[in-house]
């Protein structure tokens, strides 16, 4: 499925293998297999996990330092649970790649980035209707927000800077 990040389209070098059996450099496993996949990982593979948005962030806490990627499912663009899970994972100290997977719309890209996501994986039809340039444009449509997020500039700090500069 098409993948994109803040710079545009991206190739997906992860291999989906729910039970973790695949012999590939980057393996994306199901939540139930994450412990096994990490434990038996003598082969130097990188491990990622794909979770439903009903999985609690704390449930991943023991694995976060060893995981390279967490992919959070968005069953529909209207279901915003993934945004909160992403934030919680970042608070828990996850430094790897966060992927939002599902039929998001371009207008949510900025939100996803601000909540700590790095990339979005889209169904084919969605990507065909909403080309990558629309996503990149949508991500930049609001230059400064009222919340301190990941990446995007925020009004709170801009105001503080302006105050300090004596304006």
């Amino acid at each position: 499925m098409p993948l994109l990040d803040r710079n545009g389209a991206k190739t997906d070098d992860w291999t989906l293998s729910p039970d973790g059996a695949a012999d590939a450099p980057r393996v994306l496993v199901a939540f139930d297999h994450v412990q096994n996949a990490l434990a038996g990982n003598g082969r130097g593979r990188r491990i990622g996990v794909a979770i439903a948005n009903t999985i609690k962030a704390e449930a991943l806490a023991p694995f976060l330092t060893d995981l390279d990627l967490v992919s959070i499912a968005f069953p529909s663009y209207g279901d915003g649970r993934g945004f909160s899970i992403a934030k919680q994972l970042r608070h828990l100290g996850f430094k790897g790649t966060l992927r939002a997977s599902g039929p998001l719309i371009a207008d949510q890209f900025a939100y996803a980035l601000a909540c700590g996501f790095d990339e979005v994986e889209l169904p084919e039809a969605q990507a065909a209707r909403q080309p990558v340039d629309q996503w990149v444009r949508a991500a930049a449509s609001i230059s400064k927000t009222y919340q301190r997020g990941f990446g995007a500039q925020n009004i709170l700090d801009a105001r503080r800077a302006a105050r300090l500069a004596g304006k």
């Binding site: 649970r81 207008d107 939100y111 609001i142 919340q147 709170l156 503080r160």
Partner: protein
């Protein structure tokens, strides 16, 4: 009043450009209707029965004359010469074309206004006491808090796709005039034993299909912790709120299902994990916002205005209006004047563009350029000198705005109902009109005293019928409009949900039924009891009985 700085201004302009782009992408098919609908809703654009409808945010109900004049201009240029104030103190235009909405948004941005989050499953326009800064019993003006929340919640990346809409109200007085217990979050500003200011946080109120009164989950939250705490509440709701059934998706259902204590515990756990300082605004920022709401420069006036007293003595109609529509101001010699948008026979909350201009002029000349919109769909001139009241009233009379009924039985709250609203099951406005005509007699209204009638055209309860002393809910029964009557609702800190008096009535029977209810009160009231006090003492039975009679009376 709050004024935009360069950042606010840019933010709103970018939001307009974003919406313009969204409309273009809808037209070229990049966005389908299912995808576009939530985007337009988050910008206040509904598709109603006859046309699109645009809902414009009036944060915490505060407007300047310049803003109201701009609304008048928009109403004339892009609509049909009138607007409608809602129970969330917003303004709705009923006839805009989608193709014109971006241009309307630009006109709004010119006067520091927008439509952001006036609908959709996100944090909605924050409301507050309409007598903020006026009431003598106020601990602190709630509007700086409301403005802080407005900014924090605007395009919040995490909370724009909640299970359902989310409404917050703030009051800073001992008396609640903002119906805070019927909100997803109600905040009451208070002082603790040490004299520090903070908030009582209530969660899980709401009307609609399953009306609930909010429960306190934190009895004292220090003021500077507000945003981080709200973030925790919203995160728990975003993660745990039900998404399987739209009618069970509000936070009130979650609080009800898991219990206020468990909900509170989840919030506190989340709160403990949060990086608070990254969320809360700096003290300088809070002070910056608060400064905009500093008191205007009042004159030093005698407590009693000779001109005002003389005017009342000479003019009965003016004296009545003054007795009914004025609210005591904390500053001697001033008053807050409620301007009723409930003229007998008019649609509650409707205001023509010409009337908007009259109101704007009055605010500019007499009330430090400020107006308030109330959840009861009226307008307030918050700070007028008593000396000027007669002149103000005379202008109001000419504009058809001097109806002396604030808080009385004809000061009816009514949602647009089926005359405009595509979700409606019955009409609301004609019922309000018929009742107003029935009780038009001024003496009779005064004799009945304080009585809130609230009408909704469907179970969504935009007309707050559950918390009306008398509530009327329009439904459909066998292909006809049918009206259910509830009794004993209360919108104050004694919040209560009204109880159903029995099966629904046909539209033409509603005025008689209400009249019978009122007659029971008049016959049984003791020692100057108000209507709601009598209802509490008497219980429903005597009222039920007369409705039954009405139902079974030969037509």
């Amino acid at each position: 009043m709050y004024r935009y700085d360069e950042f606010d201004a840019r933010f709103v302009r970018e939001r307009v450009a974003q919406f313009r782009d969204q409309v273009a992408r809808r037209l070229d098919g990049a966005l389908n209707e299912d995808e576009f609908k939530p985007l337009r809703l988050k910008n206040g654009v509904y598709l109603q029965l006859h046309a699109y409808m645009l809902r414009i945010a009036i944060p915490y109900g505060t407007l300047s004359s310049r803003q109201l004049r701009q609304l008048a201009l928009i109403g004339e240029k892009y609509d049909r010469g009138y607007g409608h104030f809602t129970t969330r103190t917003n303004m709705q235009f009923n006839w805009p074309r989608l193709r014109d909405v971006p241009a309307i948004l630009d006109l709004l941005a010119d006067v520091e206004m927008h439509c952001i989050q006036t609908s959709g499953n996100c944090i909605r326009n924050v409301t507050a006491d309409h007598f903020a800064g006026v009431a003598a019993d106020e601990i602190e003006d709630p509007r700086p808090t409301a403005e802080l929340i407005r900014q924090w919640s605007s395009l919040h990346p995490e909370f724009d796709y909640l299970p359902r809409k989310f409404k917050i109200a703030v009051t800073g007085s001992a008396q609640d005039r903002a119906v805070i217990k019927a909100h997803d979050i109600g905040l009451r500003i208070l002082r603790n034993a040490k004299g520090e200011i903070g908030y009582e946080v209530m969660v899980g109120g709401g009307l609609g299909r399953t009306p609930m009164i909010a429960k306190t989950i934190r009895s004292f939250l220090p003021k500077d912790e507000l945003l981080a705490y709200l973030e925790s509440v919203l995160r728990v709701y975003n993660l745990e709120g039900r998404r399987d059934n739209k009618y069970k998706a509000r936070v009130k259902i979650l609080v009800h299902e898991i219990g206020a204590e468990t909900f509170s515990r989840l919030v506190e756990e989340e709160y403990a994990r949060l990086d608070g300082p990254s969320i809360v605004a700096d003290p300088e920022e809070v002070a910056r916002i608060a400064a905009y709401f500093a008191s205007p420069h009042y004159e030093k006036l005698p407590a009693r205005s000779a001109a005002f007293e003389k005017g009342k003595a000479k003019n009965r109609a003016f004296a009545t209006w003054a007795a009914v529509n004025l609210f005591a101001h904390k500053i001697p010699g001033y008053a807050a004047a409620t301007i009723s948008l409930k003229a007998i026979g008019e649609a509650p909350g409707d205001v023509t563009c010409a009337q908007m201009r009259v109101l704007a002029d009055l605010a500019q000349q007499y009330s430090f350029d400020e107006l308030r919109i109330t959840h009861a769909q009226n307008v307030v001139l918050p700070h007028v000198e008593q000396d000027d009241l007669l002149a103000i009233w005379q202008t109001l009379v000419e504009a058809g705005l001097a109806t002396a009924n604030a808080g009385l039985i004809t000061d009816i709250i009514a949602c647009p109902g089926l005359d405009y609203c595509s979700l409606a099951t019955a009409r609301s406005i004609p019922i309000a009109q018929a009742l107003a005509h029935r009780f038009a007699d001024q003496k009779r209204q005064l004799d009945i005293g304080e009585l809130n009638v609230k009408i909704s055209g469907c179970i969504n309860a935009c007309g707050h019928h559950h918390v009306g002393h008398i509530g009327i809910l329009g439904l459909e029964k066998s292909g006809k409009e049918s009206y259910q009557i509830t009794l004993g609702g209360d919108a104050t800190l004694n919040a209560a949900i009204g109880e159903n008096l029995g099966p629904g009535l046909a539209a033409q029977d509603v005025p008689d039924a209400i009249e019978r209810i009122v007659d029971v009160y008049l016959a049984h009231r003791q020692n100057g009891e108000s209507f709601i006090e009598s209802v509490r003492r008497l219980g429903l039975e005597p009222f039920k009985a007369v409705i039954q009679e009405k139902l079974h009376a030969p037509a």
